[in-house]
Structure formats: structure tokens, C-alpha cells
């Protein structure tokens, strides 16, 4: 029997007070209800030490408190001890989150209901909560100012200056047919006043949560049922999704933004936040009252929207991927590991659409042609093939929905045109009327139609699929024929110039349309994945499917727009094929990277294709690869690649191997028992590596198991018939892409902590086993005490062992041994759709988050410190950047078929000319590629500038930085991530 103490009484009284308020104050009581009736759920609270156990149950409009946690409690909060429980009473929601992240409070069960519970608390706390948040905000701003305290307005000016004195191209690529100076050096954003205005708006507007999508969808489902239709028959999931989608598209507000030459928006709000209650949207429940005041990425939410979402969320609380898995698989062990966010994290619970759809199909053929094909397929079916018929019918319904939306946009354009007094704008609106009347139903005839068709179908895809990492792919290839044709029809230089300027504005407008919706970021994600947005990856360059140079006029136009706007999203990726693409093109990529500080990311076609050849033997398909989300590889338009399915913290496996399967921070013996250091169980380095491999396999097996369950949930909860119309194979197989309809079916993993693990293994191997300079016990003791008692050992592990990135062949071998192990673990599994897992070494922002959740390591990295990002060597590896480049280039591509992120900071000298900077960057990248390197990306900035930006964010709203694979605005990052960027390895230019 546990001994309860005064905290038990205290918690009991607090919950009683809460219950009484909800029972007796009608203004509060009404929140216990939604359109579905009373919201019934129960929350348990307990300490791990057994000093407290209570529960609160909301049932039929009444709240009551129990002195025990009922067996079927929807969610339980476990506090690791009394102190943590006491602390939570005094702190802001934001600090509470920190405790959850640090595993001081452990959450089990349905997070949506915990959100509801938090929301109820915020209702009671009212203004006090707001004041606490205001105070926390001020403190946060102050602490950032104090961290480094630099204030030099000159820094911000230096960044602005980069936009001037632009280089000119010195050769013309074979694919460039029209541009005289492919670098378009004469243009800056100043030449495009409307774009400039919209660009400023983008940075100044606070995003607003949009209720349009969740409200319309939930309306439909409430009317027509989710599991069963209104007649009580079980729904075919594809049909249900298709009808709901069609309803949404028909009723969605058709918006044409002022001055926009592209019709349609994802949200009616100027800068909207898309909400997907059908996956993870309910995570925001607890923040409905506080999101506008939170420290990081606050967004506005109207009273009406908050009310609507609070009404909608109960409908979805039990229909999320996580809830479904828990319900159908009895809250499995793999889910419990995942929910601690320490060893792994599954993203399928948020989205499955990290892929590159076949946009050319919408643009070049049009939806009517697809409908025609679907109808042919249906005709060919045997009568008993009703599943296939349903699947195909659902695809057709979705396409009809998309067309209905385009028709509404056409109507809107006409209405606006009729009212418009400015003749130029009137003409534009009339053109939009004609455009939307024609596409995406029919093949696009002009570039304006092509871009509008691409965007309108994109809106459809985003209404169906969560806006995470769905990527348009190779837009330069898609748009070039239209550009060439129209340019070719013009005769005078003036006409051509005018048209070119129109195209730059059109593409800028397309970028801004993409950038103007934000994704919904629960505060926890600010800390786990700070600053990440939709990760809409656009890819340029490389080769065509038949192997020719793919760099063309549109490549350079897209790069110009990238340079002018410096947006974090779309996420720009550039392919480079050695021997085919020109140095002029690669230099331009470097120049854009320099001007924007952080984009594009550059990929070596040879290494990528070699890596991915294990998943496809069709060279034309490999040549048509495009980046997805951050850096990942998708074979365009025929590959359901869910490239960001799951992340694994490789350091957790190392810690578990050092502790016989126990994870210290989780305080949980979850892994297999593989040996005790203190018992001398490891006689050789290989003995230890076997233990380490067993722990990695354990974590990977669990994360795969969960991901496969999530895929099963997805196929039931949220099949994607519209996406299925534009990924080859699904129509032909009459199978939704969530069920394996695509030609290629893989799931992507990204594995974090590469350098930290390699360097740690090197320390163990060299110092303990090869050189026997220290005992394993002594090393283990030093780690357990965070090296506090042993500075000389701490110095020794840093200085006497060669690290990955130092030019040591032995460390490179160790890295390949590690990547080979991880690759092997994944390849021994299959995903839900029968495909393989792909293996990547990039880290989004989780090298920081996982770092805070990991103890000291043999490498000398101290507890809580960030890992090196992606596949980047640790800053201490070498003072010579070339050592870094060479070592990363030697990573075996066959172990990395989901790509890597190699990310360093370059610091230009104050007097370096632009030519010198660009030429040096070019040389680094080209040589890295020649040596076999797969991917590289730079932050071209001095740490002092970042410090200044941390203290004076108002001067740096537009400052782009690359985290690991994605871009973010530096000033919107959490403090830990800002510091990590400041401390990241840097090399002079």
C-alpha cells in the first residue's frame, strides 16, 4: 500500500474546486457540451512515488472527483515526484510543457482529452493565466537580450547589402533558351512593388487560426456519419472521405487576394493557420485560450473560432491516429515508447503525405482527362469488384470537388472584375476568370494557366492532406515548355522583357501563396521542431528522365524568386549532376545561398541516385527524383514515399547499451538486457557493439511496429483519394495510395545523433579497448556524473581520439558501420503497404530536442546539450573544413536512401568580394560532390550576427537559417535552437 500524503489532499481539494465551478457556474458548464452532446472523459493524476492519486470525471455535464484512477481513464498524468507536482501549480503552461518534455511529467492515454482538461483549467484561471503568460513573454525576451547582449545595427545592414552588386552569368546552359543573363542580375524585389507589399505583409501579419476546413468537414461528418452512414451501414472509408472532401471544396470560400495573379487560397484569412482535427489538430485544444499569448509562434484566434474548435474537437478526440491505435491494439508498448518522445517519434500521427504528386498530370492533362481514365477503369471492372469500384468512384468525386472549387473561383473573379475600376486590374481579373473556367479541368495553354492549375490543385491536395512536407517537386521542368512557347511567340525586345517580368511576378506570387498559410504548431512542437513550416519542397536542376541537362530558363527564374523573397517555405532544393550541369549553374546556387544566408539545399544527383537504386531499377524514374519535405528522395509522381514517417534518436540506444537496457532520463528499463559495464560484461569492443546493435534494433523494431499500425489507422481514418489520382499506380490498381496503390511504396526514417554516436563509439574503442588508457567503468562513472569529477578524462576524450570529420579513416569506418547497422535494421522490416523503409541521417530540429533528453556521452558531450545536426561532424572534429567535407563524402550512399543533411556555417570575411565568396563556396560544393558527397547546405553568416538577432529580433524578421534540412526564420526559434545555431561548427570564407 502506498502512503498518500498532504499532496494527495491538496490535489483532491483543487480538483473538487474545479469540479464545483463547472457544476455550478453555467458559463463554465456550457463548455462541457458540444453538438454531439456532453463531452465525457476522465483524467487521472498521480505521483510515481505513490503519494497522490486522484481523478476527475466529466460525465453528462457533471464533474466529479475520484480518489483513485478508474481503469478506463482516458488520460493519466504521472508526476515523477511531489516536487514536480508542486512546481506545476506555480508555473505557466509553457514551463509545464518543459517538464513534460523532460519526462518529469509523463502523459499516458489520449492527448486530446488532456488538452480539453488544460482548456478547462485555462477557463477557470482566466485573466491570471494571461498575466502569467505576459510575464513569461517579457522574461523570455529579456533572457534572450541578456544571453549575448550584442547590439550592432551594422550587422543587419551587411545582410541587406548582400542583395546588391549581383553577379552575371558567364556562360549559358544548353537548356536556357530565352534568358540573356540567366542570373537575372538586373532584378531585385524593388522592381516588383506588388510583390514587395505582399512580402512585407507576410512578415508583419500575425497568423490567424482558420476554422474553415475543420468546420466544413465536421459538419459533413456529423450529418453523414464517420464509421457508419446515416442508414447505419459501415462507410467505405474512401467514399466517406471523398464525399466530405467534395462538400468542403464546394463550400469553401473562393478567395482572390488583392493584387494576386493567382486565384485561390488555402484559408480565407490573410495569413491563416490550417487546422487538421482529423490527425493532430486536437493537440491545440488546451491552448485555445492562450495561443495568442504564448512565447513562440503566437497566432491570433477569434472567440468564434475558439468556440467552433472547442465544439468540433470532441468529435475527433477518439478518431485520431493515436486514439485509433490505442483502441484497436490495446495501447501497445511501441506507442508508449513513442509518446515519451525520447527514443523515437512517429510522424504518421500527423501526416502521411510527405511525397511528390504528379502535378504535371493536373497541369498538362487536366482533371477531366483523369476522370475519363477513372471511368474507363470502372467500366473494365467485374461486377464483384466493389471495393475497386468504390475506390475509383471516390477518386472521381474528389476531382469533381476540385472542379467545383475552380468554378467558384471563376465566379468570384468575374464578380470582382465587374466591380473593379482600375483597368489593368480589371483585365487581370477577367483573365483569372477565364483561367479558372479552363483549368484545372482542361490542359493548361499558357504559363498563367499552368501556374494557376498547379496552385488550385495544390489547394485541393492540402484540403485533403495535412500540410506537412507535401512537395510540388520539379517545377522548372513543369513550367519551362509554357515559358518557352510564349516567349517564342513574342517578337520585340520590349515585349519579351515585359513578359519576363510578368513571369517573375507570377512565380513570386506562387511562392507567396504557398507561404501564406502556416501549419498548426502546438506549443510542444515549438520546442521539438522549432520554426518548421509546411516544408513544401521545390526542386530545380539535375537531369531529365532521359538524362539530359534539365537546367532551363525556369530554373533560373525560380532561383531569382528564391533570392528576392528569402522565404522559409517553399523549401528550395537544387540538384546537381556532375558532368552535365554547368559550373555557372552551381555558382548561381552558391550566390543565392549567400544572399539568402540559407537556401537552397544542394544535392549530388549521382550519390542520390546510387543510394536510391536499391528501391528502383528504372533509370528514368531515378533521374526524375525530387526532394520532399526537408531533403528526402521521392520518385516524382509515382511514389508514395512518406519520407518523414519516423525519427529515431540513436543516442538513446547508446545510453541503453551502456545501462543494460535502462534509459536513465526516462527512468525506464524498456530495452533488452544486453550487459552491465560494471560487471565487466564487455571484454572487447565488438562485445559492446553487439549490445549497442541489439538496443538499436529494439528501438527500430518498435518504431516500425507503431508506424505500421499508424498506416493501418490511416487507411481507415483518412485514405486520400485525391492524392491517389496523382500518384501513378493508384488509378491503374484501383487502390488508394494509403493502401499500397502507388508504383513505389516506401516509408522514410531519419536517424539522429550520427556524429555523437560515432565519436562515442570511437572513444570506447580507442581509449578503453585499443589503447587501454582508461577502464570502461571509469568512463561510465565519468558519464554518469556528467564529467564533473573528471576534467582530465573530459579533455582526453576530446583531444586524444580522432572524431568523425577529422580526416580519420577509422572514424569514417565507424560511421559507415553505424549507418550500415541502422540501414540493416530497417531493411529487415516491411511497411504496411508492403514496401521498404528508407534510411536517412538528417534531423529536422530534433538534434536539439533529443539532445535535451539525453545524458552525457563518451564523446564528452555533456548532458542536455544538442547533438550535431544530421550527418554533420561535431564542431570539435577539425579546424579544417576540408576534413569535414571529405569524411562526410565518404559515407556509404547505400546506407542512406532517405538522404542526409550536412550543414555548416560559413563566415565570410569583412573584405571578401562576392566573387571570392561564391567561388570558394562553389569549390567546396563541387569537390564534395566529386568525392561522392550526397547533400550539403550552408548558413553563410557570422555567429555575432545571430547573437545580435537573438537580442534584437525586430531587426531580423527576414533572417533565414537552415536547421537540418529545413529553413526557419531565426527570430522565431526557441532559445535552445538559437544557441545551437550560434555554437554550430563554423569556418571562415
Amino acid at each position: 500500500m502506498h502512503s498518500r500524503n498532504h499532496m494527495n489532499i491538496f490535489t483532491h481539494l483543487a480538483l473538487r474546486l474545479m469540479a464545483a465551478q463547472f457544476n455550478f457556474r453555467p458559463s463554465l458548464n456550457k463548455h462541457l457540451k458540444s453538438a454531439d452532446g456532453w463531452t465525457n472523459f476522465s483524467i487521472g493524476l498521480k505521483t510515481e512515488t505513490g503519494t497522490m492519486e486522484q481523478a476527475i470525471v466529466f460525465q453528462n455535464g457533471h464533474a466529479r472527483v475520484l480518489k483513485y484512477i478508474p481503469e478506463k481513464a482516458d488520460a493519466v498524468m504521472r508526476f515523477i515526484n511531489d516536487d514536480i507536482l508542486k512546481e506545476t501549480v506555480r508555473i505557466t503552461p509553457n514551463e509545464m510543457l518543459n517538464l513534460i518534455l523532460k519526462n518529469k511529467i509523463i502523459l499516458d492515454g489520449n492527448m486530446a482529452y488532456l488538452g480539453a482538461f488544460n482548456f478547462y483549467i485555462s477557463l477557470i484561471m482566466g485573466r491570471r493565466y494571461q498575466r502569467m503568460l505576459d510575464k513569461a513573454n517579457l522574461l523570455e525576451i529579456k533572457s534572450r537580450k541578456e544571453e549575448y547582449g550584442i547590439n550592432d545595427p551594422g550587422f543587419a545592414k551587411e545582410l541587406d547589402k548582400r542583395k546588391e552588386s549581383r553577379l552575371k552569368a558567364d556562360t549559358i546552359d544548353a537548356g536556357v533558351k530565352c534568358l540573356e543573363d540567366p542570373y537575372l542580375s538586373e532584378y531585385s524585389i524593388e522592381a516588383f512593388p506588388r510583390i514587395k507589399m505582399r512580402h512585407e505583409k507576410h512578415f508583419n501579419a500575425t497568423p490567424e487560426i482558420s476554422s474553415e476546413r475543420p468546420v466544413l468537414l465536421t459538419q459533413w461528418y456529423r450529418r453523414h456519419g464517420f464509421e457508419k452512414d446515416s442508414d447505419g451501414n459501415p462507410w467505405t472509408p474512401e467514399l466517406r472521405q471523398a464525399y466530405a472532401f467534395k462538400y468542403l471544396m464546394k463550400n469553401k470560400k473562393p478567395v482572390i487576394r488583392k493584387d494576386s495573379i493567382i486565384a485561390g487560397t488555402t484559408c480565407p484569412e490573410e495569413v491563416g493557420v490550417l487546422v487538421y482535427p482529423d490527425t493532430s489538430g486536437t493537440l491545440i485544444w488546451g491552448e485555445l485560450g492562450s495561443i495568442s499569448k504564448r512565447v513562440l509562434t503566437p497566432c491570433n484566434i477569434s472567440k468564434e473560432t475558439a468556440g467552433q474548435l472547442h465544439d468540433i474537437f470532441p468529435f475527433w478526440a477518439k478518431r485520431t491516429t493515436r486514439a485509433w491505435i490505442s483502441e484497436n491494439h490495446g495501447y501497445p508498448f511501441c506507442q508508449k515508447i513513442d509518446e515519451r518522445s525520447v527514443a523515437s517519434f512517429n510522424f504518421k500521427t500527423v501526416s502521411m503525405s510527405h511525397t511528390v504528386p504528379d502535378l504535371p498530370r493536373f497541369v498538362n492533362d487536366g482533371t477531366l482527362a483523369i476522370i475519363e481514365e477513372v471511368q474507363q477503369q470502372i467500366k473494365a471492372l467485374a461486377p464483384e469488384e466493389s471495393d475497386k469500384r468504390n475506390t475509383l468512384t471516390s477518386m472521381m468525386l474528389c476531382l469533381e470537388g476540385l472542379n467545383a472549387y475552380a468554378a467558384n473561383l471563376a465566379k468570384e473573379a468575374k464578380t470582382l472584375a465587374d466591380k473593379e475600376t482600375d483597368p489593368q486590374r480589371k483585365e487581370e481579373l477577367n483573365r483569372l476568370y477565364q483561367t479558372c473556367s479552363h483549368v484545372p479541368a482542361n490542359p493548361a495553354r499558357t504559363l498563367d494557366e499552368a501556374v494557376n492549375a498547379a496552385w488550385i490543385s495544390w489547394i485541393g491536395l492540402l484540403m485533403e492532406n495535412t500540410n506537412v512536407s507535401l512537395s510540388p517537386g520539379r517545377l522548372d521542368q513543369l513550367f519551362q515548355p509554357f515559358f518557352e512557347k510564349e516567349m517564342g511567340s513574342l517578337s520585340t525586345g520590349d515585349e519579351k522583357k515585359q513578359y519576363l517580368e510578368h513571369v517573375i511576378e507570377l512565380i513570386s506570387c506562387y511562392f507567396l501563396r504557398n507561404a501564406e498559410h502556416h501549419n498548426l504548431v502546438p506549443d510542444v512542437a515549438n520546442y521539438l521542431f522549432g520554426g518548421s513550416q509546411s516544408e513544401t519542397a521545390i526542386t530545380v536542376g539535375g537531369v531529365t528522365p532521359d538524362g539530359k541537362d534539365a537546367v532551363n530558363d525556369m530554373t533560373y527564374i525560380i532561383l531569382k524568386v528564391t533570392e528576392m523573397l528569402s522565404l522559409n517555405d517553399p523549401n528550395m532544393n537544387a540538384r546537381f549532376k556532375l558532368g552535365v550541369n554547368s559550373d555557372t549553374y552551381l555558382k548561381r546556387l552558391c550566390e543565392v545561398n549567400y544572399v539568402t544566408v540559407a537556401t537552397p539545399s544542394m544535392h549530388n544527383d549521382d550519390a542520390v541516385m546510387e543510394a536510391f537504386s536499391q528501391n528502383s531499377d528504372k533509370i528514368e524514374d531515378l533521374r526524375d527524383w525530387a526532394s520532399t519535405g526537408c531533403v528526402e528522395i521521392t520518385l516524382s509522381g509515382k511514389h508514395m514515399s512518406h519520407t518523414g514517417a519516423t525519427s529515431v534518436n540513436m543516442v538513446a540506444g547508446l545510453e541503453m547499451a551502456l545501462n543494460n537496457g535502462y534509459h536513465p532520463l526516462m527512468n525506464w528499463h524498456l530495452g533488452p538486457k544486453t550487459g552491465v559495464v560494471a560487471n565487466g560484461d564487455f571484454k572487447t569492443f565488438d562485445d559492446f557493439f553487439v549490445a549497442f546493435a541489439a538496443q538499436q534494433k529494439f528501438i527500430i523494431d518498435n518504431t516500425v511496429e507503431l508506424n505500421n499500425m499508424a498506416a493501418e489507422a490511416y487507411a481507415y481514418l483518412r485514405p486520400t483519394p485525391l492524392l491517389s489520382t496523382c500518384i501513378k499506380g493508384a488509378v491503374q490498381n484501383a487502390t488508394d495510395v494509403t493502401k499500397g496503390g502507388a508504383v513505389y511504396n516506401t516509408s522514410g526514417s531519419f536517424n539522429i545523433g550520427l556524429s555523437d554516436v560515432v565519436d562515442s563509439l570511437m572513444v570506447i574503442k580507442k581509449l578503453v579497448f585499443d589503447e587501454k588508457r582508461i577502464t570502461f567503468e571509469a568512463l561510465k562513472d565519468a558519464i554518469d556524473s556528467n564529467f564533473e569529477n573528471d576534467p582530465s578524462l573530459h579533455a582526453m576524450v576530446h583531444k586524444k581520439v580522432p572524431r568523425f570529420g577529422s580526416g580519420s579513416a577509422e572514424a569514417v569506418d565507424m560511421a559507415n558501420k553505424l549507418t550500415g547497422l541502422i540501414h540493416g535494421c530497417y531493411k529487415s522490416t516491411k511497411n504496411f503497404r508492403g514496401g521498404d523503409y528508407t534510411v536517412g541521417f538528417w534531423s529536422v530540429a530534433q538534434h536539439v530536442a533529443y539532445g535535451t533528453l539525453s545524458g552525457a556521452l563518451p564523446s564528452g558531450r555533456l548532458a542536455g546539450r544538442p547533438f550535431a545536426p544530421g550527418a554533420t561532424p561535431d564542431p570539435s572534429a577539425s579546424k579544417n573544413f576540408l576534413d569535414n567535407i571529405r569524411d562526410v563524402a565518404q559515407l556509404n550512399p547505400h546506407h542512406m536512401d532517405n538522404n542526409i543533411a550536412f550543414n555548416v556555417k560559413l563566415v565570410p570575411g569583412p573584405d571578401d568580394s562576392r566573387e571570392k565568396i561564391v567561388n570558394t563556396m562553389f569549390s567546396y560544393v563541387k569537390t564534395y560532390f566529386e568525392q561522392g558527397g550526397m547533400q550539403i547546405q550552408f548558413n553563410v553568416i557570422h555567429s555575432d550576427v545571430l547573437k545580435d538577432a537573438m537580442a534584437n529580433p525586430e531587426n531580423y524578421q527576414n533572417l533565414l537559417v537552415r536547421i537540418s534540412g529545413y529553413n526557419a526564420y531565426f527570430v522565431r526559434l526557441n532559445k535552445e535552437m538559437q544557441i545551437e545555431l550560434i555554437e554550430r561548427a563554423k569556418y571562415g570564407l
Binding site: P791, S792, L793, H794, A795, M796, H798, K799, K800, G807, N880, F881, L882, D883, R886, G909, D911, S913, K916, N919, T920, F922, S923, Y924, K926, T927, E930, Q931, Y987, G988, L989
Partner: protein
Amino acid sequence: MKKTLILELKGNSLDDGPGIRSVVFFKGCPLSCIWCHNPESKKTGVEISFEPNECVGCNTCLGTCTKNALSKENPFFIDRTLCNLCFECVTNCPSNALERVGHEMNVPEIVETVLKDKPFFDTSKGGVTFSGGEPTLDMDFLGKTAKALKENGVHVLIETCGQFNYEKFNELVYPHVDLIYFDIKIMDSSHHKKYCGLPNKTILENFRTLYRRYLDGGTEVLPRTPLIPDITDTKENLLAIVSLYKEEQVKKTQLMAYHPLWRDKNLKLGISLPSTSEGKMGEWMATERTKACEKIFTDAGIALEP
């Protein structure tokens, strides 16, 4: 095989000639400029250095030194009159606070090491720079190394103080070099002797000869002047340099602004700072001062390399 003493092979240098370069620093120099930026390269023999900021105070070294040369009381930590350079302490120091300065290397070792960077030379039009110390101290060695690199298609540059035997240079080194950075420091020979230890006669003769050969289609020579406050950057000295350049039809030069980073390096090697290292010699050179020096050259129609 014959070895010579190398201070450091530094890769990825962006400021020692065109493109990305590897710099071979030789140890030892015939001059002894009081402001020398690489004091660790002055002496010809190996040395031991101590970096207090790296020391974690574990005292391991105290136990390993049989000569009792180490003491925390000693401001330089190492008593170099007692130390016999056995480097036992260096091997055992966990933090590399104690380090050996100078390593014997032969030609193939140097060539093999720097050739690893060749792919970067090729994409950046860079190469190898021989610096020091004074690379021409061992002409035979320098010539052989340069030749081996040239045979591997590497661009070779030497940075020299100009104090060498011309005949030997011409025979052993000149054929294997693509570019010569030639220091012209002080025109007044007695000043030169005072600040650099030797008169400048040989240096100026060598410069004139090499420059004339350059103008006749020989290897390119770029004269360079370090701007040392009140020593080389006086108007008088700079004007004297300008007139030398006029005589020799020099169209281009490079000026290197003074920085005081060498002072800490001296301390690491147990060398007390000379009294002249205070005042202006303790600071980075102000931009206005550099600009004024530059103007003397540009006014005379001599361009400046960045």
C-alpha cells in the same frame, strides 16, 4: 630520406594566394623581425609550447617530467633551460595544453599529405603555398618538394623574405614555382638591420633580379609589405618602396595590415614580450591608418591586391 622541420601543414587556407590552398610552414628563418607573426617558426629546432587556456590542471605532466622542468610557479610553466625536449609530458597531457612545435618530415610525406587537398585546388584554382619561417632555408628540400607537386599538377607559390642565395635559388627552386610572394619590408638598410637582424642588400638585389625576369616572361612576382606601426608604415619608408617599384615598373603590390595576435604565441613558447610590443603594437591597425598607407601606392599608380 632527408627530412626537414615543418611547423604545420595547414589546409583550406583562403588568404595565402589564389583559391583554396594548403600552406606548408617551414621552421626557421634567417631574419628575426621583432613583430614576427609566426614566432614559433623563427627557431630552426623543435620546441615545446604550453597553452594555459587548454590546461585542466590535472598535474599529470608534473609526474612524468624527470627533469623537474615544469612548475606552476613559473609564469611560462616550462623551464626551457632544464627541459631536454623528451616530450614525455606532451604524450601524457590529456588536453594537448603541452605540445611539440615542429615535426620532421620528408618530401613524400609532405607531398602525400597536401595532395589529399588536390581536388579542392582543382575546383578553386588553388594550390600549395610554401611559407614559414623561410622556405628557402633548405633550397634543396624546397625545390624537390615543389618539383614533386608540380609533377602532380599542383600550382606552387612561395612566400619569401628574399634573404637567400640567388644562384642556388635559380637552380633548385625557380623552375618549380608558379608565383613568388616577395616581402619588401624596410628600405633603409640600417633600419632593416635594427628591426630584422640583417641588412637588406641581398633582399633588394634578389628582388630586382627576379622582378626583371618576371617582366621578361619569367615567374610572376608579387611584392608585399607588412604594415608595422612606426616601423614599416612610415611615409618615408613607403615612399622609398614606391620609388623602388617605379624603377622596377612594379604595377601591383599587396599591403598587410598589422595585427597583434603573435604576442600570445610568444608567451606559449616562453618568450617574454619585447618592450616594443606595447602601445600601437598591442592593437589591431586602425582602418584609417591602413587606408592612408594604401593611398601612397594608389596615388603612384600602383594597384593593390586585396
